[in-house]
Symmetry: C2
Subunit: 209 residues, 2 copies
Amino acid sequence: MAQLKQERAEQTRRTLLLAAAEVFDESGYAGASITRILKRAGVTAGALYFHFGSKEGLAKAVMVEQGEHLELPGGPDGLQRLVYITLYLARQLQVDPVLRGGVRLAVEQGEFGLQDDEAYQGWIQVFDEQLLAARSHGELAHDALVDEVSWLLVGSFTGMQLFSQITTHRADLPARIRMLWRYLLPSVASPQIKRSIVIDDAPSAEQSA
Amino acid sequence: MAQLKQERAEQTRRTLLLAAAEVFDESGYAGASITRILKRAGVTAGALYFHFGSKEGLAKAVMVEQGEHLELPGGPDGLQRLVYITLYLARQLQVDPVLRGGVRLAVEQGEFGLQDDEAYQGWIQVFDEQLLAARSHGELAHDALVDEVSWLLVGSFTGMQLFSQITTHRADLPARIRMLWRYLLPSVASPQIKRSIVIDDAPSAEQSA
């Protein structure tokens, strides 16, 4: 019984998070009324305050958990997987309301009084993991530093998706991220691996199986 | 007489723009009350509506005119001047309220219902000018394209200054922009010029005189 209750509570929390992400993505923080989020989720105000405490708490959760539901492309860790992950994120930003809502709040958070880098640091960790594997496999150029490259990727990606959003509603984002890699790879990849990195989407599961 | 009147009007407009940029930089769009802007500027509400029409009109002007007062580093057009300009912007973002206010609004504009790329396109033009000169002087790598590099710089710079703002109040921004150039230059600069580009602030006017 207790477990069933907990599962239901977890389900309600996910429903709320998804509804909130959608509304934040459409209308930003100020434009997202609690009434609209509750109506979209089909839950009570009590559930929102129980799980998130406040609208700001809900927004923080959307920001920080923006990537937790994603199924990042698999394959061996390293530079190739890192390229696949960034291109996957570019495509998800075109269609995934939770990621879009979280990224929008992370970018616009100054407007509702936050200065919270947790969402950014989450991506730094994801990228670091691939870069450390790349380093240990001899895939990184001698003077490319893991900390620098992951910072550069998170910073550049953040601005590029914003610029792409403002100019083309992110229609050109995958092409822009491929472009970023074309310019960065000569400095980041070791001479041995440079030519073998594919700057494109990961092969689909069927193809790679 | 008519000219004096026009000069006074222009002065009032500048005073308002500066005061608004300061308040937007401190508090964002929603947090910047018209009352506070008028008090800071020491002008009447009538002047604000005469020059800008509305708070949104004022915000648009701050966004679009964010760089018009800047004295960009001089010197011959080309890749070196482009590097100097980006490092100058990194330093100005630490101290210049008009640039800071304009950039903040351009990043957070979604929160107040805008999707306006004019401020971004202004920087594209500035960067294009230097890259076209670089191209005509043989300073660009064979496969570096002017349109791509300027887009990449504007997109990356936008996100890097935001990430730097959230993590260090932009204390590390100049170092981050130097880092960006270290990684980009091998793909952007022609082999002939690569080693001669100085990735640092422009020499001061006294030094270069």
